[in-house]
Structure formats: structure tokens, C-alpha cells
Amino acid sequence: MTTTTTLRPTDLAEVRDAVRDTPGRLAVAGAGTAAGWAGELGAVDAVLDLAGLTGVITHNPGDMTVSAHAGTPLRALTEELAEHGQHVSLDAARIADGATLGGLLATADSGPSSLVYGTLRDLVIGVTVVLADGTVARSGGHVIKNVAGYDLAKLLHGSYGTLGVLAEVVLRLHPVPKRTATLVVDAPLARAAELAARVLEGPFEPVALEWTSDGRLLVRIEGTDEALPARVARLQEVLGAGATTPEGDPWTRHAELTRGAPDAAVLRIGARPSLLPALVSELAPDAATAGLGTGVATVSLPPDAVADAHTRVHAAGGTSQLRSRPVGADAPAWGPPPSALAVLRAVKTALDPDGRFGPGRFSPWM
């Protein structure tokens, strides 16, 4: 039986040395909040645990940029930035569980506010990555606007640790909104979709527009103290008399549904928003969140229904990937391969010719 070594680098040089000096296959671990996502990790010789590679490197409040080590939990960064009234505009549910910057980037995770702010790919402006041969490479920079060179940060977004080890991440920041409000209205999915379409047609500029399978539509807007109450009132006119701004955090249930039940397989899907309600109704009308503006949904399924779900989503022109699955369950992580599979494999070979990083993550594609 082989033993798996765990390495705990705490700075960039140690990451490089660990990759260079450790033979064999390597996995990268952050906070472990998405360790079971995507394809199941194959056998590795060593795990690079980046839990100690933390901390802000530079924060330039006036420029609204921050660079930090990849093992930094985003919630810790959020706390640090709060005193400057700034934040990273990402609201993936697992941030609350301690998810790290590198982990969030590598898994292409995002939350409801991706409707306006996009995913981490839209917020990352630079990366430092360590390749399988120990090469330390940088891409992007420390300014928000920058088109010099290939944007390798994008390539790492969603790469699940298979192309290189993210060591440092540079992000653009946004001001923390002065005031936020979420309107909640009870609505079955079809009705919620109608209401969402009306909200999107209007001048309301929602930052999140999500349906949850407990039969509620959640509409979040943000703005200033002066303007927000009037905007809430206008939005209420569209959503109807049943729309309220409830006490407490109306997003808790949404986050729970995104995580899924422990005995379920959780599939994240993306499709044109107009096609999403039908897909969600078909797949998991009782255990889902549906981004009615983003086209991104999370559904909980029995593991044996996953293969069929991939097929259905792809038939609708959509995208799907498995997130968590029950321990021991056999469910395919990915649907049909993308048309660009040959390029994807060529990029993998170019950056990690011996297939050292993250074996199994994109099985059976590569």
C-alpha cells in the first residue's frame, strides 16, 4: 500500500519546492469544502495542503484591488476588507464554510449575485501559479484593466487543480453596498419565472433573482440609504402584495439547498434562463435553486439519476457538473465532452505533461 504524504507550504517558494521536489501525483487541498466535487480524485502520492498559505499580500483601497495567498479563506478576507468598506463580490454558499480563494477559483464556484458581478473569473485580475515542473508563472497584474498577455487566470478558473497550483490571487474589489434588501414572494416555479421576467424587463437592476424549491422567489437589490426604500416600493408593485422583506436572512434556505442533502447527488447546471424552469421541474422540482436571471441551477438528485440528468441538460444546450455525491455513490461527474476537448487535452499536456495534478478530476474526458 502506498502512503500519501501531506505537504504544508506556507509561502510561494515552499509551494514551488514542494511541487518540484515531490515525485509523483499531487492533489491540492484548500479548506476541503469542495473536495468531493467534480470527478473523484484518483490515487495521489502527495497532497499539497494550502491551509497555511494564507494572508493578504497587498491591499490598495484606493485602487480597489487586493492580492492574497491562495489558501486564504474568503470570509477572512471579507472581514479584513470590511473596515475599508470593500469586498469581493462573490456570494457562493460555501464561503461561509471557510472556502479558500484558490478553492473557489479552481472550482468556478459562484452564488446568486453572479447575475451582476459574474463569477470569480470576472473578478480575478492576476494569478501566480506553480506548474508541475516547478515553474512559477504569473499572468495578469495588479490593475483592473489589463490586456497584456494571455489571461491564464481564466484558464485556472474551473480547472479543479489539474493545470497548476494556484499560489497567489489578485482580485478587483467592489464597495460594500450601503444598503441591501431582499424581497420574498411565494410562487411556484412557473409563476416565479414570469415575475422574474417582469423584474428583468424593468429598471430594477436586481443583483440576485433566485427561486427556491420551497416555493419562493427571492429578489435582492442593493443601493444607497436614500434611494433603496423607494426602489423596494416600486419592486413590490411588480411582485404583488405578497412580496415582503422578511426579518432574518432569507438566503439561508437557498444556501442549504445549494449544498444539497447528504444522501443526494448535487448537480449544478447552466442553461438559457428561459429553458431553466422546465429543466428544473423535470429534474428535481422539490430540491433545487434556480437562478432565473443567470440560468444557473443547483439540483439534488438520487445518484442513479445523474447520468440521465446530464443528458437532458445537454440536450437543452446546457452545461452540467456534479458537485457533491453521497460517499461511495457512483455518479458521473461530467456530461458529454465539450467540442473543444482536444484543445483542453493539449493545454493539459502543455502545462502538466506527466499528468501529475488532480488525476481523475475530469474523468473520463482527460
Binding site: 497584474g141 494571455y150 481564466k154 437592476e205 452545461t319 473543444a340 483542453l344 493545454v347
Partner: protein, 484 residues
């Protein structure tokens, strides 16, 4: 013509022979893009009529190992569409159909030869628009925008082309056709679309682009404010940011740029003031009104000498006309000019402008400044006279300004691209390892280096060999990173 007749015949088999140009007089029209200082006459120019013909043409290139350069409207400012010797130009000018406008999903599917503004025109009846707005938007094409990851005045709030393109159908350098990206922002696997966007035509040719459309904002408020100094105008920008306001756009012009623009389009700018700011807010009417009052107060606090608020759509258009015409307008006050596109951290704007002024004085040349003040993207215009033999000096100053931006922790280019123009400056910003890794990614897409070769990455032929000894990483020299 150095491409042998057999290659031409191969192109003529997949395209209408009339769409294969070989007459040097006709080909000369394609010898440069908006960076007119670099010219290479292509051997052949191909004018495919649809995506299938583009793919077929690329397959011929691949089979015969002929380098090719895709070209849209040719408005690029970095020589990204500069032809290569013994190669062909593939013009996408005829792929100009809007294939689909899908208001329910707020997106459109367009061919690469559609202009930036035509997308918005097609979306406008639905109350939607396409957000990235390069100054050349009336003529530049979306295919070129994809290649360059174009920005524009409003990208401060709304982001760049990369943030607004959901997917691209791409003809890879071997002629195969793939889709990069998906119908939503959701990915399955690494974001290849994100690498393709801004790759300056070196990874393939896009033949169909799915873009996001945004709802036209309910309210737009625009002001033009004069300031007694560039520093005062810069302080206004800092205070706006510190107040947590994200304006749709913040643009600054200096005396020379104002003088040129005013002479060209009479947009109502004040000739002679040291600095003018254009600030635009958009969004729901209540937010816009509240924040606009704050912005006005900030302008006044910093000694604004004149505050002109656009009272109508026409007045706003006029303010923007002055700003967007500034590049071309400089032609009125100088026979020739170079445009630079460096970026500095916004907080160092005043400092970098001082340095640029000093460098101009030392070189004996005037430099006009028009820039996106909100994100630190400068557009220094180095004015010179080729007839007076100033070209080389101006070119040197222009390059030094771009490299100064890197020294200040910024970038060589914010939106115009590296292209041919700045490829040799890339080692100022990136280490050999950084560039080697980029080259590995490029080779994964294009192993035979046929697709727009010689752009983005420095080549020994173009830039000369560099000595092999240890050199500090450029960011290490500028104090941004520490040595390993």
C-alpha cells in the same frame, strides 16, 4: 508573390476565386491596421462569405503551413492585424449577420464582422444594449473586440469584452471548429473562452459570438467639470471611489487634448483649462439622483471652475463626442502622433502624468493626455512630425511611457492590445518563465504557429536575443513582488 500558385488554387477551390485577392494593389489595402507605422503587404487576401468558408480556408492554411492573420475592420491600435510576409489575410468583413437577438435571455448571437454599435442597434428595440463601448464602436467589429478584449469608457462599471461574451464558435488553427464557453456563465471545465478572449487573434478565428445584453439604464446623468490642475481632478476621482460610488464612466482630458477635441467637434469644452473630467452615472433614477448630488459636491470641494451638466440626451452625446473624437482630433494640432495605452494603479495618476510631462519635455515633444481616469488607463498621445524627422524620438518616448506604467505597478496595455507594437516590451512586465508558459498555452492551440504569428509574445527575430543571466522579475524591480 512568394506563395506558390498551388496554394492559391487550393484557396480558390474552397472560396469563390473572385474572393481570393492576389493583385498587390488590392492587397495593399490590408497592409496595416490602425497602427499605420507597421506595414506588411500580404500575399493573398481571402474574403470568405460564411463560417464554413473561414474553416475551409484555415484548413488550407494548415495543410500548406501558410500563416494567416484574421482581420475585422482594421481599427486596432497595436498592429494586431498586421499581415505576415508570405502569409494570407482572412478578412471577416463579409460575416456581418446578426444571427439572433433573444430578448428573453438577454443575449444576441452575431457574426464577427458586425460592428460593436450594430449589436446595440439590433438590441435597442427590446430596451437592451451591448455594454463594452470602445471609442471606435461605430466601425470596429465584435470579432476584433473579442480578439483584443476591448474596453471602452463604460467598462469601469460594466467590465470588458471578456465579461460580456458568453461563448464563441472558433475555427482553431488546424481548421477544426469548436465552441468555447456556454449559454450561461456556467462552465464545465477550465475557462478556455476566457483565454481565447483577448488572445489577439493568435489562438483561432471566431466565426460566431454570443454576447450578453444589458437592460438600458433607467437614468443616465453626465457632467463635464473643469479643474485648475490634473491633481485636483485626480482627487475628485479618488473621493468618488472612496464614497463607494461606482460611476459608469470617469474620463479625464488635459489642456492639449481639450484644445484638439474642441477644435474638431466644438463639444463645449473649455479651451485652456488644465484638466476636464467627464463623469457619468447610470442606474435606477433614485440611485442616480442621490449619487449625482454627491459627485457634484465632490467636484466643488476640489475647486471645480466650471460644472456643466448635460441637460438632454443631445447635450450628453455632445460631451461624449468631444471625448471620443479626441484621438483623431489630435491630428488637428499635430501632423503625426502615437497613442499609448498603459495602465497605472489609479492612485498614481497624478504622479505618472508628472513623469510623462517631464519625459516629453526632455524629448522635446508634446504629449496630450486623454484617459479613463476611473481605472487608471492612460492614453498619452505623443505628438510629432515625421517630416521634421521626429519619428524615432517619438516612438522611443511612446515605448518609455508604456514601460513607465509597468514600473508603477501597472500594465503595458489596458485595451489596445500588445500586438506588434508592444511585443518587445513584454519582458518589462513578465519574466521569461511567465512568457514561456504563455507560449506553451499558445502552442497548445496552434502547434505550427500559423495563427497571427509574431504578435503578443516577443520573438528573437523581432526583439533580438536577450542575455541568459538572471534578471530580476519586472514586478520584483518595481517592488510589487518579492524575490523567491
Amino acid at each position: 508573390m512568394t506563395l506558390h500558385g498551388g496554394v492559391r488554387q487550393a484557396f480558390e477551390r474552397v472560396l469563390d476565386p473572385a474572393d481570393v485577392l492576389s493583385d498587390p494593389v488590392k492587397c495593399r489595402a490590408y497592409e496595416c491596421d490602425g497602427l499605420t507605422g507597421y506595414r506588411v503587404c500580404p500575399d493573398l487576401v481571402l474574403l470568405p462569405r460564411d463560417a464554413a468558408q473561414v474553416a475551409a480556408a484555415v484548413r488550407v492554411c494548415h495543410e500548406h503551413k501558410v500563416p494567416f492573420v484574421a482581420r475585422g475592420a482594421g481599427t486596432g491600435l497595436s498592429g494586431g492585424a498586421l499581415p505576415v510576409a508570405d502569409g494570407v489575410v482572412i478578412s471577416l468583413a463579409r460575416l456581418k449577420r446578426v444571427l439572433e437577438v433573444d430578448p428573453a435571455n438577454r443575449r444576441a448571437v452575431v457574426e464577427p464582422g458586425v460592428t460593436n454599435l450594430e449589436i446595440t442597434a439590433a438590441a435597442a428595440p427590446h430596451g437592451l444594449y451591448y455594454a463594452p463601448d470602445p471609442s471606435s464602436q461605430q466601425v470596429c467589429t465584435i470579432g476584433g473586440n473579442v480578439a483584443e478584449n476591448s474596453g471602452g469608457a463604460h467598462c469601469l462599471k460594466y467590465g470588458f469584452t471578456t465579461n460580456h461574451v458568453l461563448s464563441c464558435e472558433v475555427v482553431l488553427p488546424d481548421g477544426s471548429v469548436v465552441t468555447l464557453g456556454t449559454d450561461t456563465g456556467e462552465q464545465a471545465g477550465p475557462d478556455l473562452r476566457g483565454v481565447f478572449l483577448g488572445s489577439e487573434g493568435t489562438l483561432g478565428i471566431t466565426t460566431s459570438i454570443t454576447v450578453r445584453l444589458l437592460r438600458t439604464p433607467e437614468s443616465v446623468r453626465t457632467l463635464l467639470a473643469d479643474f485648475p490642475s490634473v491633481a485636483a481632478a485626480g482627487d475628485v476621482v479618488s473621493d468618488i471611489v472612496a464614497a463607494g460610488i461606482v460611476p459608469a464612466a470617469v474620463e479625464m482630458m488635459d489642456t492639449l487634448a481639450i484644445e484638439a477635441a474642441e477644435e474638431a467637434v466644438h463639444a463645449g469644452y473649455t479651451v485652456g483649462v488644465p484638466a476636464a473630467l467627464v463623469v457619468e452615472l447610470d442606474g435606477p433614477v433614485e440611485e442616480c439622483d442621490a449619487q449625482f448630488e454627491q459627485v457634484k459636491a465632490i467636484c466643488e470641494k476640489h475647486g471645480c471652475t466650471r460644472l456643466h451638466i448635460a441637460g438632454s440626451v443631445e447635450e450628453r452625446a455632445k460631451i461624449w463626442k468631444g471625448r471620443k473624437a479626441a484621438f483623431a482630433a489630435v491630428g488637428r494640432i499635430s501632423p503625426d502622433y502615437f497613442v499609448q495605452d498603459g495602465v497605472v494603479p489609479r492612485t498614481r495618476l497624478a504622479e505618472v502624468l508628472d513623469r510623462i510631462a517631464g519625459m516629453g519635455t526632455d524629448a522635446g515633444l508634446r504629449v496630450a493626455n486623454v484617459f479613463h481616469a476611473g481605472d487608471g488607463n492612460l492614453h498619452p498621445l505623443v505628438l510629432y512630425s515625421a517630416a521634421a524627422g521626429e519619428t524615432e524620438r517619438a516612438e522611443r518616448l511612446s515605448g518609455e511611457i508604456a514601460e513607465l506604467c509597468v514600473e508603477m505597478g501597472g500594465s503595458l496595455s489596458g485595451e489596445h492590445g500588445i500586438g506588434t507594437d508592444k511585443a518587445c516590451s513584454m519582458p518589462k512586465m513578465f519574466s521569461e518563465d511567465d512568457l514561456a508558459v504563455m507560449a506553451r498555452v499558445q502552442a497548445a492551440f496552434d502547434p505550427h504557429n500559423l495563427c497571427n504569428p509574431g504578435k503578443v509574445l516577443p520573438t528573437p527575430r523581432l526583439c533580438g536575443e536577450r542575455p541568459g543571466k538572471y534578471r530580476a522579475h519586472p514586478l520584483e524591480e518595481s517592488g510589487v513582488i518579492e524575490r523567491l
